[in-house]
């Protein structure tokens, strides 16, 4: 009897339900708020420009970044043929900075992405299951958490040996614990909310609940946190290269360039400071960007 009544109503309301309420989607409203935040937009544009620069380096760079000249070493900024000077082996600084963006950005972004995947998975699993699973995962993570991140990165890189892959691997390991920790605490909070219970009461399984109700609410904060790690990762990667544990010369990479140019700091301080300036610029932009995204994602305001 009542079922028939429902069907009649469904048929009746089916016709006008074609057009939708003009409400913005969540991510669209986040995006529009981001667009209003000038600082964040500028930072995003700077990072975008740097990424494009890295991708199109061979077309943009005026010189071969590896071609040196014994005669033209350590030219100052603005000298002829070397707009940003030359380094200790007479290589064009501008070209090296442009090419250096490739490795530096890769080593800043890839470890964080890998750690986001692994750490997020660990954290969500731990937070969602709770109990013993949580204890097992989080206590293991805590062991890594006990070491300062720089020390851990250096120790792992040192143990695995120098090289780009090993540096990325060690940085990934360094960033898994903090991301897992954030993912776990957010998941634990979300899991206790009534809508997760309501979903369970609808007969949904764990996988569906995680996919529909947990991921969307957890990945936001975790993603923002990961963005703030990008700058740290950039600096750590540069630090590893500086110590000779990341990229090897003659490959252009900002951290390594900073190291090799350090001997020239008294002859040509401005040229020596350029790679550091680039590292500073990128990490600064990533930091401001993550702050901007964080406040744009705050729905309740």
């Amino acid at each position: 009897m009542s079922a028939a009544a429902v069907d009649v109503r469904e048929a009746a309301s089916a016709a006008p339900a074609a057009q939708f309420a003009p409400t913005q989607g969540y991510w669209r409203s986040v995006f529009s708020r981001l667009m209003r935040d000038k600082v964040t937009v500028i930072c995003a544009l700077v990072i975008l420009a740097l990424i494009l620069m890295a991708v199109f380096a061979p077309w943009i760079a005026p010189e071969d970044p590896l071609k040196g000249s014994v005669m033209k070493r350590l030219r100052p900024i603005g000298s002829e043929g070397y707009p940003l000077g030359s380094d200790e082996l007479g290589r064009d600084m501008l070209s090296r900075l442009i090419f250096g963006a490739r490795l530096s950005l890769v080593m800043g972004i890839v470890p964080v992405l890998c750690a986001l995947g692994i750490g997020g998975l660990l954290g969500i699993t731990a937070g969602f299951h709770g109990g013993r699973v949580n204890t097992a995962i989080m206590r293991t993570v805590d062991v890594f958490y006990a070491f300062p991140s720089v020390l851990l990165a250096v120790a792992i890189s040192g143990a695995l040996g120098a090289g780009i892959t090993n540096a990325i691997l060690s940085l990934t390991i360094v960033f898994i614990p903090p991301i897992a920790r954030v993912a776990e605490s957010v998941t634990t909070q979300v899991r206790a909310l009534d809508y997760v219970e309501a979903a369970r009461a609808s007969g949904a399984g764990n996988f569906t609940i995680i996919r529909v109700h947990i991921l969307g609410n957890v990945m936001g904060p975790v993603f923002v946190y990961a963005t703030s790690l990008l700058s740290v990762c950039m600096i750590l990667a540069a630090g590893l290269s500086f110590l000779g544990l990341g990229t090897k010369p003659p490959l252009p990479e900002w951290g390594l360039m900073l190291n090799t140019l350090r001997t020239a700091i008294f002859q040509n301080p401005w040229v020596a400071a350029l790679p550091g300036l680039m590292i500073f610029l990128v990490s600064f932009c990533f930091n401001l960007l993550s702050d901007g995204v964080r406040s744009a994602m705050d729905v309740t305001r």
């Binding site: 009897m1 009542s2 079922a3 009544a5 429902v6 109503r9 469904e10 309301s13 089916a14 006008p16 339900a17 057009q19 939708f20 309420a21 003009p22 409400t23 969540y26 909310l193 009534d194 809508y195 219970e197 309501a198 979903a199 369970r200 009461a201 609808s202 007969g203 949904a204 569906t208 529909v212 109700h213 969307g216 609410n217 729905v299 309740t300």
Partner: protein
Amino acid sequence: MTLLTVSGLRKHFPLKKDLLGRGGGTVHAVDGITFDVAQGETLGVVGESGCGKSTMARLLLRLIEPDEGLIRLEGRAVGTQMPLTEARGKMQMVFQDSFASLNPRLTVEDSIAFGPIVHGLPRAQARERARSLLARVGLEPLRFAGRYPHELSGGQRQRVNIARALALRPKIVILDEAVSALDKSIEAQVLNLLLDLKVEFGLTYVFISHDLNVVRYMSDRVIVMYLGKIAEAGPAESVFGDTRHPYTRALFSAMPSMDPDRRTQQPPLIGDPPNPIDPPPGCRFKGRCAHAEDICGRGDITLTSAGAEHRVACLMTQPGSGHSSAPGKAA
């Protein structure tokens, strides 16, 4: 016709001990509850905070695993004879906190359609059903379907929660303090909506609340809970009119009177409810009861019939119980 039978439902939460082995103990949240719900009726459940009402609601839906007890839905034991998924389609729940019970990242329509999609309805049909339900609970689908929970008022959100609970076409809806957080005027509207929906969809309600007036307005039968046990149960007019258990009497006398000349002068109940951690044997209420005697501390007190369908767990109503106020054998 009996739709839901609950027998001997029990849930104890063990407390963690600290490093020195102190603490521990067990919270007797729900301690052996037996009742049944007939098709089409509204069963009111009242009691103070912490008496186990919400735990009971979650036990019914198996959101918490019971330690003991059997729940039969339409005569089939939930979990064994009836799969949990099927039972959860037939029993739904509306929570108290309207905001926390909606996913902030999903539109209202998607939240309602989630259950039917999980149960295998095609997405388009589930959305169609969501919109028709939105219309039914008084929210214009064109305006509200695409909105997010934070864009709605508390009353509107609770209407969405009701629509969500109805999306699986359940037989029983458990309303766990569903109107308690609303303004009085909105509360009345939502209560009337619930009454309309009950008739229209042929629903059965388990209505949990601490608000006695609301329970009286809504319920056909009432259960009074005290510290995880049923103190008194029976038809609403009988429980409200011919109150037997001292706890129920105290509870009802705590209702503010509309007549200023009949204001409650004395606090009807002294002190907080006793701790549900490792309660002493005997009557749970004896520490706060004016009529408590030594006999009340001995053994378990069972629910005993006190007139047609009216059951009371108090020795004073049980002939030959040994309590000085108990009726004689002849009575």
